[in-house]
């Protein structure tokens, strides 16, 4: 066991991990931050996306020890201190961009990374950026719509029904 220390959602944390412990497992099992989900074991599904030093990372693809000293942001840190949702979270709720909720943390974290790079993405920009995130419930329609809405674009013309 080796001790690892990092900042998670602005708070200093540390814990003992094995060399093989993944960042996703450190967050879930050691810190009890179960908002980050694990949906596959081949880094395909993106349910585990977090930000490490500002960059979107699949936390199942990174060893906890690799995050030594890093600043990690997870889904638990996205809402304001009073619980109010951030713009992306709110757009997902407003546009029914989630159903079972399992892929949602990764979707929200990926969307946040996208909008940081590309504040007004087109539909195809969003669809291409999300190639590392699988959702099995929504057929992506309302996820794409929500992310475009979160970027301040008018999505009222996109077919709803």
């Amino acid at each position: 066991m080796t001790q690892v220390s990092m900042t998670v959602n602005g708070k200093a944390v540390s814990g003992d991990v094995e060399g093989r412990t993944l960042l996703s497992s450190f967050l879930r099992d050691k810190l009890g931050m179960t908002g980050t989900h694990v949906g596959c074991d081949t880094s395909q599904c993106g349910a585990c996306v977090v930000h490490v030093d500002g960059a979107a990372v699949k936390s199942c693809t990174m060893l906890a020890l690799e995050a030594e000293g890093a600043s990690v942001d997870t889904i638990e840190g996205q809402a304001a201190a009073d619980g109010s949702l951030n713009a992306i979270q709110q757009a997902f709720q407003d546009h029914h961009g989630l159903q079972c909720g399992f892929c949602t943390p990764g979707m929200v974290m990926s969307a946040a990374a996208l909008l940081k790079e590309n504040p007004k993405p087109s539909e195809s920009d969003v669809r291409e950026y999300l190639e590392g995130n699988i959702c099995r419930c929504t057929g992506y329609h309302n996820i794409v719509k929500a992310i475009m809405a979160a970027s301040g674009q008018d999505v009222s013309a996109i077919a709803a029904e």
């Binding site: 908002g35 989900h37 599904c45 909720g101 929200v108 995130n133 419930c137 996820i143 029904e161």
Partner: protein, 787 residues
């Protein structure tokens, strides 16, 4: 104007806040103090005799609590099948045993052989590698036709063959069917495969067993769509436990799509092991393990023949299907190719003679069971593909051919055992023509052709039997369960309401939609109504969520229970106002006496029910809580028409979905936003089946597509925005809300639209291609174009 509350409104989903903030409570998020972890050693070959199994070295590994093998489960029941199909001769299906851990033989890659319980998941996994296994490989049985040949290797030595059943529905007189074909002006024949799929809900399955020696009570946390079904099956058929000592909790569940209906060996194992080890035992499937242990879907091979008279009226339909059961009978596996498939072969059409033949086959593959649509997508795909082919062969417009043969009068008794209560298939087709902009297709095709692409328009209809199901009917057909559902409406003293429901929400938004109904019935704010689900200790005995049944069946129970509440509340109100029960009206949460200005508020009545100082105790009991069980009188019949437009790149065979439109008739709709979302998701999965997904075994029974790297599912850039119209509404005639169900429609209706569109595109390019099996991959399209 759209409503802003109640039935027909689209309030934001209340469950979203916890899911969007990482505060969901999924089964893998649950850790019980002192828990151990189990790792299953699974077969890496498809078929073998277990000649030796030595766990001694593994038992000495660090952290190992105990290692279980099949020997530990001798005398314990096996995994049951919930539906006994009777074959064409009146005999019961062949039903092999399905032990929790393999006994003597393994029958598919992934069949669990041993279970290591250890202090940590890593220690359990490490120790499993130290188990010494001596397997004597036997020939794999993969191909269904070969499996049925004389002398084929048997998957189960104690059965007479690999045939589970040979079943027929509809016209059983072969000569009568043949005569209809002999008399036909035209016969269209199609041989096709409905490929095996993997449901792949994003949350892998998890089970946590807990046992309390002090109270002799078991708790199982599990990723299930139906906790009471799991409790019943596990207690009554597998472990022999008293139900009142077993609590099954299915908390937030990350998608189901059918594959979380079934009772799985891992659930029974964790329950058993928690007592045997006197420690909580947790199992979390890896995705690779999910591919080897979640029941898979579809896997039919079919020959379908459609007879038409000289005026292009459908006169007869005959199908012959081989349906893969896999190595064991999963919980509802046997019902899928039979009662959930054969009964839908009439589709939306008035074909007078129908014969459906199904042979179900055991193979050394992962068991197959219901996956979103379950039998109905298989029926729809065959029928809508053969109709499209027939239209081309006889030279008529495929939409006109469908319209000509639509059932238009209701109720309609099909030749395959169903009675459609209501519908308007021309109505949904009319809506589709607008939603899909048929009129603009020619211009879009011309534009594509200018760019060197072929463009096709594919249209099809679908009908499904949902709201599963009338218990007396399914009982006659072999179901070993009732298929009612239940709801308890508990009104609190201050007027808020908890509704405990048997349905389970794992993405469907029950927590938002169900309160819309109760709140509207009483006339109070939706925020005053809370839904409780997923815990057998909190909810009445309901059968759970699948078959698009939640609102139609459990919602009906909730309506009935709420009606009982209102009736009792009126009695209390009448007493308070010294009036007759019959004169009490309830509107907007206020009880009034007709023709007077006397009124009492909802909260006054509820408080009186629990503080009965002035109460008609001689007539009614205090309190305000009612339960209703609802057993439907018939299935519901959602139906609709779908259109897909594709572009095919003739250089590469790549298919791009350019437009997709759906026109559905779901009857009355409680929450249009959620209904849209359900249809979107179904279409996404249907496009996945049509273009991408394929569960492939090689000849040795190895699963080649056992990870997300190998099993292709739609990503955001594989699909377009969808146009969904559900304004054509013929309310269900036999349930109180007039609702039909919407969860599976998208997955049922979309695959034939995609394939029809691809064929249309190729035909427009002068390629005489009659059919391409799914997934319609670039390689298959290119081969068809150039073959």
């Amino acid at each position: 104007m759209p409503k802003d509350s109640g039935i027909g409104a689209s309030p934001k989903r209340r469950e979203d806040v916890r899911f969007l903030t990482g505060a969901g409570n999924y089964t893998d998020d649950i850790n019980v103090n002192g828990q151990a972890y189990v790792h299953f050693l699974r077969s890496d070959v498809a078929h073998a005799k277990i000649n030796g199994l030595d766990t001694s070295a593994a038992e000495a590994m660090p952290g190992v609590v105990r290692i279980f093998t099949g020997a530990d489960f001798e005398g314990v029941g096996g995994m049951p099948c919930g539906w006994q199909v009777t074959d064409r001769h009146g005999d019961p299906m062949q039903e092999p045993p399905h032990p929790i851990l393999a006994q003597g033989k393994v029958r598919h890659v992934g069949d669990p052989i041993a279970a290591v319980v250890a202090d940590s998941a890593e220690q359990a996994r490490d120790a499993a590698e130290a188990i010494v296994l001596d397997l004597e490989e036997l020939p794999a049985v993969v191909n269904m036709k070969a499996a049925l040949e004389d002398g084929a290797t048997k998957v189960h030595d104690d059965l007479t063959s690999n045939l589970c059943y040979d079943w027929v529905l509809g016209e059983t007189d072969d000569a009568a069917v043949q005569k209809a074909f002999d008399d036909a002006a035209h016969v269209t024949t199609l041989e096709l495969t409905n490929q095996r799929l993997v449901a792949n809900p994003m949350e892998p399955r998890v089970a946590v067993g807990d046992y309390n020696r002090g109270t002799d009570e078991h708790t199982l946390y599990t990723t299930s769509q139906n906790p009471h079904v799991i409790r019943l099956l596990m207690c009554a058929f597998v472990l022999g436990l008293p139900e009142h000592k077993v609590r099954v909790i299915a908390p937030d569940v990350g998608g189901g799509f059918g594959t979380k209906i079934f009772h799985y060996a891992e659930e029974a194992f964790c329950t058993f092991a928690a007592k045997a080890c006197n420690r909580p035992v947790k199992w979390t499937a890896s995705r690779s393990e999910a591919f080897l242990s979640d029941a898979q879907g579809r896997d039919h091979v079919t020959k379908i023949e459609l007879a038409l008279d000289k005026d292009n009226n459908f006169t007869a339909l005959r199908t012959n299907t081989l349906a893969n059961m896999g190595a064991y009978l999963s919980t509802f596996s046997s019902s899928v190719p039979t009662w959930l498939h054969g009964t839908l072969m009439a589709g939306n059409y008035k074909t007078p003679v129908i014969q459906v033949n199904v042979k179900a086959v055991f193979t050394t593959t992962v068991p197959v069971d219901a996956y979103r649509g379950a039998g109905r997508p298989e029926a729809t795909f065959q029928l809508e593909r053969v109709i499209d082919k027939a239209a081309r062969e006889v030279g008529v417009d495929p939409v006109a051919l469908r319209r000509q043969n639509f059932v238009t009068e209701f109720p309609y008794d099909t030749p395959v055992a169903l009675t459609y209560d209501t519908g308007d298939y021309n109505g949904t087709m009319d809506k589709l023509e607008v939603a899909a902009d048929f009129a603009g297709f020619a211009a879009r095709r011309a534009e594509s052709e200018k760019n060197g692409k072929l463009r096709g328009l594919g249209v099809n209809c679908y009908i499904e039997a949902c709201g599963i199901a009338p218990s007396n009917v399914v009982g006659m057909l072999g179901a070993r369960a009732g298929l009612y559902d239940a709801a308890t409406v508990r009104v609190n003293a201050t007027g808020s309401i908890s509704v405990m429901v048997g349905a389970h929400s794992h993405g469907q938004g029950h927590e938002t939609a169900f309160p819309q109904v109760v709140a509207e019935m009483i006339g109070i704010d939706e925020s005053q109504v809370e839904i409780v689900h997923g815990d057998t200790s909190k909810i009445p005995f309901g059968m759970g969520t699948y078959g698009s049944r939640s609102l139609a069946v459990c919602g009906s129970a909730m309506v009935r229970a709420t009606e009982k509440i209102i009736n009792k509340a009126k009695k209390i109100a009448a007493h308070l106002m010294e009036a007759s029960d019959a004169d009490i009206e309830l509107k907007d949460g206020v009880f009034s006496v007709a023709g007077t200005d006397k009124s009492v508020a909802w909260g006054d009545v509820t408080l009186t029910a629990y503080v009965p100082h002035n109460f008609p105790l001689e007539d009614i009991e205090p309190g305000l809580e009612e339960t209703a069980f609802y057993d439907p009188a018939n299935f519901t019949y959602p139906a609709g028409a779908y259109a897909c437009e594709v572009e095919v790149d003739p250089e590469t065979g790549k298919v791009t979905i350019e437009r997709f439109a759906a026109a559905d008739d779901f009857g009355n709709i409680v929450n249009p936003m959620i209904v849209d979302g359900q249809v979107h998701g179904g279409i996404g999965q249907g496009i996945g089946q049509a273009l991408l997904e394929n569960c492939v075994y090689d000849d040795s029974g190895q699963l080649l597509s056992a990870s997300y790297m190998d099993y292709a599912m739609p990503r955001a850039d594989d699909v377009p925005f969808y146009t969904v119209d559900h304004s054509s509404q013929t309310p269900c005639t036999h349930n109180p809300l007039g609702v039909k169900g919407c969860g599976e429609a998208g997955a049922i209706g979309s695959p034939p639209a995609v394939v029809n569109a691809v064929i249309d595109a190729l035909q427009s390019g002068g390629k005489d291609v009659g059919h391409i099996d799914m997934p319609v991959s670039p390689a298959r399209v290119w081969a068809a174009m150039n073959g």
